[in-house]
């Protein structure tokens, strides 16, 4: 928690510096035209909100109200012990600050922070879900997490008229009591949760102010961005080639990579990441090609339809966004790296023999000097907004009648 508070203070400090012209000695590196194009490609931010066509209640206020209530409701777990907020805590950046998630049992992967989710193509570290609502189904049904079923979820509405009223407002019909339709209630619950989760976003950052200034050619404003952050940025888009995967306004290409993090989860047991999760996705009745998608034209299923399984996907994990990265420790799919500096050192001292690559390897040990390491860390910290880890807590919906 101390590192989260420090990062938040640093983010606020950097914001204050940018908001106070004349407070800092102006200095701007001589970014080339190519570097300026690369910098501009990392924005603008925030993106325009787009509803999810596979979720008919995406962006719908009554659905957001229902999803908000459900998110904090431990009755979704038959044990009454697990709610979404158990792992996705607003004062921990909608994550849990633990290396690996813990529900009713321990899990092998790190809890991802919930933010900017409409920017993602795949969900989960291995991309085992192709929509946010599908991503909600896995923890609900997983015996290690909620250990719920369609029947237990439907039962929650039957025992709570107020919740059933919120459901009716969101979907235009009451949650059915008939057993054969419980699956619809389950999927709708996941869609309502998604409608709420889509509203969780990170705000503008010191980097965004700098990026916009560079994009409009305002070097005076750009020069207010800390020099160390500029130096770190130059490494990020240049020699470090971090931008190969962490590109675009969300600082992620939305795909998968093997970055040399061990995938053993127990002696003799591995987490094969994308390789296994893509197969699970294809076999699932809840993917975007299935009957539960509300997108009749299946335009949102392009990635699912075209995804190809390759041997190289073994041990690959989703490239995470770097927005608010300073407050999402610990890092990597298994939470094995405790601090942002350690992440930079991981890439600096990478074991290249560990990466499976043919031809020219994409990842090479960066062998950064201490000053370069510091600069890259400072740059990454400027990708965090003023709220830091302490996210605004949404108001719970009023009673429904």
């Amino acid at each position: 928690m101390r590192s989260i508070r420090s990062a938040r203070l640093l983010a606020a400090f950097l914001c204050a510096l940018l908001a106070a012209p004349g407070m800092v000695a102006a200095s701007l590196l001589d970014f080339s035209a190519q570097e300026r194009r690369q910098i501009a490609s990392l924005g603008p931010w925030p993106p325009q909100a787009q509803p999810d066509p596979s979720n008919r209640i995406s962006g719908n206020a009554p659905a957001v109200a229902l999803g908000t209530r459900l998110f904090f409701d431990a009755r979704l777990s038959p044990s009454g012990r697990i709610a979404c907020v158990t792992c996705h805590q607003p004062d921990r950046g909608w994550a849990d600050a633990r290396p690996r998630a813990r529900g009713l049992a321990d899990l092998p992967r790190n809890t991802p922070a919930l933010a900017n989710l409409r920017q993602q193509r795949w969900f989960g570290w291995g991309g085992g879900a192709d929509s946010l609502w599908m991503a909600n189904l896995r923890p609900l049904l997983d015996p290690r997490e909620f250990d719920a079923s369609a029947a237990t979820i439907a039962g929650v509405y039957q025992r709570d008229p107020d919740l059933a009223c919120l459901y009716r407002r969101a979907f235009g019909q009451a949650p059915t009591k008939r057993g054969k339709d419980h699956e619809t209630v389950l999927v709708n619950t996941a869609k309502a949760l998604a409608a709420f989760q889509e509203t969780l976003a990170t705000g503008r950052t010191p980097f965004d102010e700098f990026r916009d200034a560079v994009a409009r050619g305002d070097d005076d404003v750009a020069a207010r961005y800390p020099l160390a952050a500029q130096q770190g940025l130059r490494l990020f888009i240049g020699r470090g080639n971090c931008i190969a995967c962490h590109n675009g306004p969300n600082f992620s290409n939305g795909e998968f990579a093997d970055v040399g993090v061990p995938y053993f989860i127990a002696p003799g047991k591995v987490d094969a990441g994308r390789h296994d999760d893509l197969q699970r996705l294809r076999a699932s009745p809840y993917n975007l090609l299935g009957r539960h998608s509300d997108d009749a034209g299946r335009s949102s299923a392009t990635a699912t339809r075209h995804a190809v399984l390759e041997p190289r996907h073994w041990g690959e994990f989703r490239v995470p966004s770097l927005r608010n990265v300073a407050v999402s420790a610990p890092y990597m799919h298994n939470g094995s790296i405790p601090t942002l500096r350690d992440v930079v050192l991981h890439y600096s001292t990478l074991d290249e023999s560990r990466i499976h690559a043919s031809s020219q390897p994409l990842l090479r040990a960066l062998r950064l000097s201490p000053e370069e390491t510091d600069a890259l860390v400072v740059f990454l910290e400027t990708l965090t907004d003023a709220h830091g880890a302490d996210r605004p807590r949404p108001p719970l919906p009023a009673a429904c009648d």
Binding site: Q38, G248, N253, T302, A303, R305, H306, A307, S359, Q360
Partner: protein, 129 residues
């Protein structure tokens, strides 16, 4: 008339591999790849999007005038020895024209686009920023 006769005479004298064929795709942004047995013309989006799906239209013809079966399309990063994470689909539009969808270039850098027409693969270089 004289020019047409001259062209016909030239075509008759040349080996089949050198006979021109004109893929039925013209206009701004169209690029052509000439192979020994086929010619492909393709039109990419104005700016190739990084890590976003895109589609492209292309046309192909065989120099010997034979019918074209639906070609295959792929893209790779030769320097890094990997391709896309997606397998594009190709839809015939009729008259030797096709539409490929499901392409996604997930990294900036040099890519190679390949069109496989029959037993021949024709390649074009792409640069994604």
């Amino acid at each position: 008339m004289t020019a047409r006769l001259a062209a016909l005479a030239a075509a008759l004298l040349l080996p089949p591999s050198a006979i021109a064929c004109e893929p039925p795709l013209r206009g701004e942004g169209v690029q052509k790849i000439e192979g020994p047995r086929h010619v492909v013309a393709w039109r990419a989006p104005t700016a190739l999007p990084l890590a976003q799906f895109f589609a492209l239209e292309f046309a192909a013809c065989a120099r010997d005038g034979s019918r074209i079966d639906t070609p295959r399309i792929d893209a790779t990063m030769p320097e890094h020895g990997h391709g896309m994470n997606y397998r594009p689909t190709v839809e015939p539009l009729g008259n030797g024209r096709f539409r490929a969808s499901g392409l996604l270039l997930h990294m900036p850098g040099r890519w190679q686009l390949s069109f496989t027409v029959g037993d021949e693969t024709l390649r074009a270089a792409l640069k994604v920023d």
